[in-house]
């Protein structure tokens, strides 16, 4: 599935936030949504490309897609 086909339930715009801000913002949002919901994280911190997948795996959620961009990255996380 391509990123454009994934409809996020919520979007977390953490652009401008330094590590670990984007991950913490994502965790806080995943905490609030229901299982099956997809959270889109917008982050311009490269560390999100490593710490988000690590946390998603640890928490048993699913990383549906990652779109690495020049300005920012888009990570789609589904709460399982």
């Amino acid at each position: 599935m391509t990123e454009s086909q994934i409809e996020p339930t919520k979007t977390v715009d953490a652009r401008g936030a330094a590590c670990p801000g984007p991950l913490m913002d994502l965790i806080g949002t995943v905490r609030d949504v229901d299982p099956g919901d997809v959270v889109l994280l917008l982050s311009d911190s490269d560390s999100s490309l490593t710490d988000v997948p690590e946390w998603v795996e640890k928490a048993g959620n699913e990383l549906r897609a990652v779109d690495e961009g020049e300005d920012h990255h888009e990570l789609y996380v589904e709460k399982v």
Partner: protein, 381 residues
């Protein structure tokens, strides 16, 4: 016509700024060209770092309270009132005690943090904290009688006030139990939401070997999701469950509701330019300290330095000059590493922290600063 500067909140940021403005706008205030009003929902200024010492029987809540009127320049109007609404278009505030709205030309939001333990089921009933006066006193009752079992310190909320305080608490507890010959009967576990023991990687790298050396268990990627007070268990979003005998948590934090209602930012944190501290979603509004979403720690030193930036910018605006002062992210923090040793860090947006070797001298420096803090609140140091 008098130019109205209104500050909401009489904590470190609000008090230091009020005194800064009284000095900086000395002539304008005396001539009646400028009026500075500080609105606070109680009569006292509260110095929260004192709370860390209350559970260990070393301080009392009143050690961290002084009447605002004793600390703030007499030319600043102090109103004991609660702001209930901010209308950033009309530039006015609704308050609990007055029927007519309060106009402002410049508004500074310094409303701080509040605790939201109810966001985690069971936490309010099953956990203790030292991030409030009541919490610290209730924890003291438990801690002073705690002689065996599993003490769990869980950082659940982030961002939270004083990012060093969770590490300080477990370092102090470890040392305190050792000195009293109890440590062999007490297991200590420290949990943190991400994959290291502190949000700042440099502090995490420094702290992890110390935690290991002190035989303090660590659980990372642990985001507390539910507490069962009867079974005495804490379960994380990641599926880990920990049994506890005494749970000390850093609860979720929020700013005050009126910030979100005014469209200034989510969860009560005002979205600001991290250098000018001007609100992103309203004109003539600033935020500082915990209330400002700058990404730097929610710490008193931050509020202190940010107050100087806003003071300079406001003075420039009042005088029709271009404001040039900018906050550089400066943060300083003492970190207790036991009952008689501490480290110290200083950093900003460009320069990361590098904790110094813990020493008794730094510990006493921290205690000395805590005693002299009232001079900071007065705007003298």
């Amino acid at each position: 016509m008098t130019e109205e500067i209104v500050i909401i909140g009489g904590g470190t940021g609000g008090s230091v700024l009020a005194n800064d403005l009284a000095e900086r706008l000395d002539e304008e205030i005396d001539s009646g060209d400028v009026q500075v009003t500080l609105i606070n929902d109680g009569p006292d200024h509260v110095y929260k770092p004192v709370w860390l010492y209350i559970p260990f029987g070393l301080r009392e809540p009143e050690d961290g309270r002084r009447p605002l009127r004793e600390l703030v320049d007499n030319r600043i109007e102090i109103r004991q009132d609660r702001v209930t609404e901010i209308d950033t278009d009309a530039q006015q505030l609704a308050t609990a005690e007055r029927v007519s709205p309060t106009h402002y030309d410049h508004l500074v939001v310094a409303t701080g943090s509040t605790l939201a333990p109810d966001e985690v089921p069971g936490l309010a009933a099953g956990g203790h904290d030292y991030y409030s006066e009541d919490g610290a006193l209730a924890l003291r009752d438990e801690l002073l009688e705690f002689t065996e079992g599993h003490l769990v310190l869980s950082v659940i909320g982030s961002p939270h006030m004083c990012p060093a305080a969770p590490l300080e608490f477990v370092f102090m507890a470890d040392d305190w139990f050792r000195k009293r010959g109890l440590r062999e009967d007490i297991e200590i576990t420290y949990t943190y939401p991400i994959d290291r023991v502190h949000g700042n990687p440099h502090i995490a790298e420094w702290a992890k070997p110390l935690l290991d050396e002190r035989e303090i268990n660590t659980e990372t990627f642990f985001n507390g999701e539910e507490v069962d007070p009867d079974a005495r268990t804490l379960r994380s979003m990641e599926g880990t469950e920990i049994d506890y005998d005494l749970l000390v948590s850093i609860p979720p934090h929020r700013g005050v509701e009126l910030i979100e209602e005014a469209g200034l930012g989510d969860r009560g944190w005002v979205e600001v330019d991290k250098h000018t501290l001007e609100a992103e979603h309203a004109d003539n509004v600033y935020a500082l300290g915990d209330a400002a979403a700058t990404g730097v720690p929610k710490a008193g030193s931050v509020a202190h330095y940010q107050a100087a930036t806003i003071g300079q910018r406001l003075a420039s605006k009042v005088r029709g000059q271009v404001p040039t002062a900018a906050y550089d992210g400066k943060t300083i923090c003492f970190i207790e590493t036991g009952m008689d040793a501490a480290s110290f860090v200083e950093f900003d947006y460009q320069n990361p922290p590098s904790p110094v070797t813990p020493s008794e001298k730094i510990h006493w420096s921290k205690l000395a600063y805590n005693e002299s803090y009232w001079l900071t609140a007065r705007g003298l140091i």
